[in-house]
Subunit: 222 residues, 2 copies
């Protein structure tokens, strides 16, 4: 019996243009009314996740910056921004990237768009720093090494003494792999990357928010 | 014919617990598909309004901090935080209020909860500062004098050379009065304060998001 569902946001409860699915919202509310706690996790920033928690009426904690910061009643960063910022400044100095608007509200990561397909060059340079890079499908992020969605879910499992097999995670992109690597249940909408589909217990035939509504309607079968 | 609709957020497209109405979201999307531009305005902070613009897919600019900051493609504050912060520090020194979480993300206002019904005392003190106070119904805000929702709508009218009679504003609380005082069309959900109902061209029989869905379905009649 699933007690906690952790959902990625962009591409999972939104479409490819980041428009949130009202079907997904209604299915989240129905799941919570049936006693399942829902959490959200994203590469986006804490005030954006705070907004989703408030406006969607989500009972679980929410995680921003790929799992680097938690908001439940207070904001708890698990890392600092020092090392990601040191690498980001090097990239700017070498004119390899552009920053993103939400960097104003980050606690432990930096978002960027690589310039002129400089992805490989940026990866190579990152080896000299204590960082890791990830692509949310909407922008790239510089994170502290070990800062990923799997880290946050392990924190959550500890904090609430949860049994991993009572947790269901849903996502669509490469930055969801660290949480898909845990011994939890996994489900994906049909638009998910093949890498995630190959790890999933259930693949919905439907995309994005319709897929999440489908998954949440079957939650008793996981 | 209404070309632009400006909606308050808390209590207007959300219920009294700040849960967003999926009916309101669907009606906003339908209005925009029919060629009406929708904007949002709130006492809340820019990253929260940014989140609503992105996830709801709103075409118009959004305004935070009671009209003190605009986000369209960039963030444009119309005021500074200096004077609200000076008054807020005095209130803290006198132990008259507590701050709110979103103060970390404010550009030109400060949010607070008055302690022990100290509302009148705070009002009295504020006369010595170049600020005004407002109650969103969810928290209190210290603003620069002249910083209100009416100021932001006048900015919008100038910026886009709009005709005021082609603008419809909707809100429910006292901080909506400055935009209801402009020569624009006004509509309210049934939960609106009496002060706003008495200024409105149309009062929906329905509350909150259901009221907004009702109002937007009648937009051709305004």
């Amino acid at each position: 019996m699933i007690e906690l569902v952790i959902l990625d946001v962009d591409g999972t409860i939104t479409d490819q243009n980041r428009i949130i699915s009202t079907k997904a919202i209604e299915s989240i509310r129905a799941a919570e009314q049936n006693g399942t706690v829902v959490s959200l996790i994203s590469g986006n920033v804490i005030p954006v996740m705070y907004a989703l928690k408030i406006f969607l009426g989500i009972n679980g904690p929410v995680f921003a910056e790929n799992g680097g910061v938690e908001f439940n009643t207070d904001i708890t960063p698990f890392f600092t921004i020092d090392e990601p910022m040191r690498f980001y400044k090097k990239l700017l100095e070498l004119n390899l990237c552009e920053g993103i608007l939400t960097n104003a509200w980050r606690y432990c990561s930096v978002g960027y768009f690589p310039k002129d397909e400089k992805v490989d060059k940026i990866y190579e340079l990152s080896k000299g720093y204590n960082v890791e890079l990830t692509d949310s499908g909407f922008s790239w992020h510089i994170l502290n090494r070990g800062q990923n969605k799997g880290y946050a879910i392990r924190k959550l499992i500890e904090e609430f003494s949860l049994s991993p097999d009572k947790i269901l995670v849903c996502g669509d992109s490469l930055n969801d792999i660290p949480m898909f690597s845990l011994p939890v249940k996994k489900a994906v909408p049909n638009n998910a990357r093949q890498e995630l589909k190959s790890m999933a217990n259930y693949i919905s035939q439907k995309d994005h928010g319709d897929g999440i509504a489908d998954i949440l309607s079957r939650i008793s079968s996981f």
